[in-house]
């Protein structure tokens, strides 16, 4: 069981900054995210795109913002459960919470802060009639263990970076790799596109474009796919695995069943005070919450995280006196023993 003071669900910018504000109050944080890396949308959807409304940054790339936040919070040593989705929550008799992920990892925390953005990112499934029958029987939407494909016949579909990169990677493992895309053009990093071209010329990858997988064949498990390709009759390719890589789309998911008040696909919070939900001890901050006048901006998430941490502190230590300290005055004491502080002025007389 992982134990922490504040369990943050969602490792996007708002969730990451929460670690900093909590750290100033000597509260420890642990983050859960369905994606395999921190940064949320900023690293998953648009890492190379600039953001212009982060105060004091006239321009910053979304990926760099994530890196800077990770740097800013590192002395508070946050824990991460990545690649897992928060599934259930149980309130304990002592008002603490146990949150369990889809992989069974349990987290025990005094406070839960949902910073889930638009929800957890789930793979977009192509519209093939019987595809759900083959899930984990030859159809995988995410590659978890490349060894699964050793000496197997693999068909990948999609036209972006992940389709290109996995096609390249799997040529060294699988016995056959076929890449199918609806267009002749691929949208990916230049060197990935070139590498695929090279592997195609060497006969290590079969490219079928413009084409589309229309149906799946097999009884117990996948044995082949039916391909539709311009200028040909539909044909069958033998396949042990079909990996559709059409990107991810966010879904609010299991959080919607936690008994929280939901409005417009977002969690209603008390914005007059501390962004607490209808369940005391559970807060919602950033894009995942809603209140009158809500704006889904990263900078608003930072503000919400800051107020939320003050409230969390009072909930954990109801009788402790505390006033907010400026970091310039108080410095930053990390849980790793480091200390950042303003340099002392020199007091010296001038002759």
């Amino acid at each position: 069981m992982i134990t922490t003071d504040i369990l943050i669900i969602g490792a996007g910018p708002t969730g990451l900054f929460t670690v900093f504000e909590a750290g100033l109050l000597k509260l420890r944080c642990h983050l859960i995210d369905a994606l395999p890396q921190p940064g949320g949308q900023c690293s998953e959807i648009y890492p190379k795109k600039p953001i212009y409304d982060i105060p004091a940054y006239p321009e910053i790339l979304a990926g760099d913002l994530t890196d800077k936040l990770m740097e800013q919070i590192k002395q508070f040593k946050p824990g991460f459960t990545l690649g897992e989705r928060a599934e259930t929550i149980e309130k304990q008799t002592d008002e603490t919470f146990i949150v369990t992920t889809n992989k069974g990892t349990k987290h025990h925390a005094k406070i839960v802060a949902i910073a889930g953005g638009l929800g957890s990112f789930e793979p977009r499934k192509p519209l093939i009639e019987n595809i759900s029958d083959f899930e984990d029987k030859g159809v995988e939407y995410i590659i978890r263990d490349p060894e699964l494909y050793r000496n197997k016949k693999v068909v990948i579909s999609g036209g972006g970076d992940s389709a290109l990169d996995w096609s390249i990677f799997l040529t060294n493992i699988a016995s056959e790799v076929t890449l199918i895309h609806r267009r002749n053009e691929f949208r990916g990093a230049q060197d990935s596109v070139e590498k695929v071209q090279e592997l195609k010329n060497l006969g290590k990858i079969t490219i079928l474009t413009p084409g589309e997988v229309k149906a799946l064949l097999g009884k117990e498990k996948l044995t082949g796919v039916v391909v539709e390709k311009e200028g040909f009759d539909d044909f069958i390719i033998d396949a042990d695995h079909f990996i559709p890589l059409f990107g991810l789309s966010p879904k609010l998911g299991p959080i919607a069943n936690w008994g929280l008040e939901i409005e417009k696909n977002a969690i209603k919070v008390n914005n007059a005070l501390d962004y607490q939900t209808n369940i005391p001890g559970i807060y919602a901050i950033g894009d995942v919450n809603t209140y009158p006048g809500k704006l889904k901006l990263i900078l608003c998430g930072f503000h919400e995280a800051t107020l939320m941490c003050q409230s969390a502190y009072q909930r954990i230590f109801p009788n402790k006196k505390y006033v907010m300290k400026y970091t310039t005055v108080g410095g930053v004491d990390g849980f790793d023993g480091t200390r950042k502080e303003a340099p002392k002025a020199v007091i010296k007389s001038i002759d």
Binding site: Q41, I45, Y46, K49, L118, G119, R124, P126, L127, G158, G159, G160, H181, R182, R183, E185, R187, F246, G247, S249, P250, L252, K264, N265, A266
Partner: protein, 109 residues
């Protein structure tokens, strides 16, 4: 600058006649959101960067539309429910020439 009229069929098949300003740098996806014609969180997920296809729509009138960028074209190549007249709403800016535009929102995917 003037306001224009649009006809938008939502995902439930209901037709809405709406008025859109042409002087607010708004695109079609934003017009749909401003009138709440699709559930919040199911449209404009990437914010309008042609990176998610959640604002895909079918253009039913024969207005001349801005040319498709490579990004939009590539995104539609990976989207589902794509038809000949598919466009991403976030790439269609509201201009006086689009008065009378008729579109239908593509299903959520």
């Amino acid at each position: 600058m003037q306001d224009i009229q649009l006809k938008i069929i939502d995902r439930n098949g209901v037709t809405h006649e709406v008025i859109a300003p042409t002087d607010m740098a708004m695109n079609l996806m934003e017009v749909v959101r401003s009138y709440e014609l699709a559930e919040e969180g199911t449209i404009g997920i990437c914010g309008g960067m042609a990176m998610c296809a959640s604002c895909q729509c079918y253009v039913n009138s024969d207005h001349e539309l801005p040319e498709m960028s490579d990004d939009e074209d590539a995104m539609l190549a990976e989207a589902f429910y794509v038809k000949e007249n598919s466009r991403l709403g976030c790439q269609i800016q509201m201009t006086p020439e689009l008065h009378g535009l008729e579109v239908e929102l593509a299903p959520e995917s």
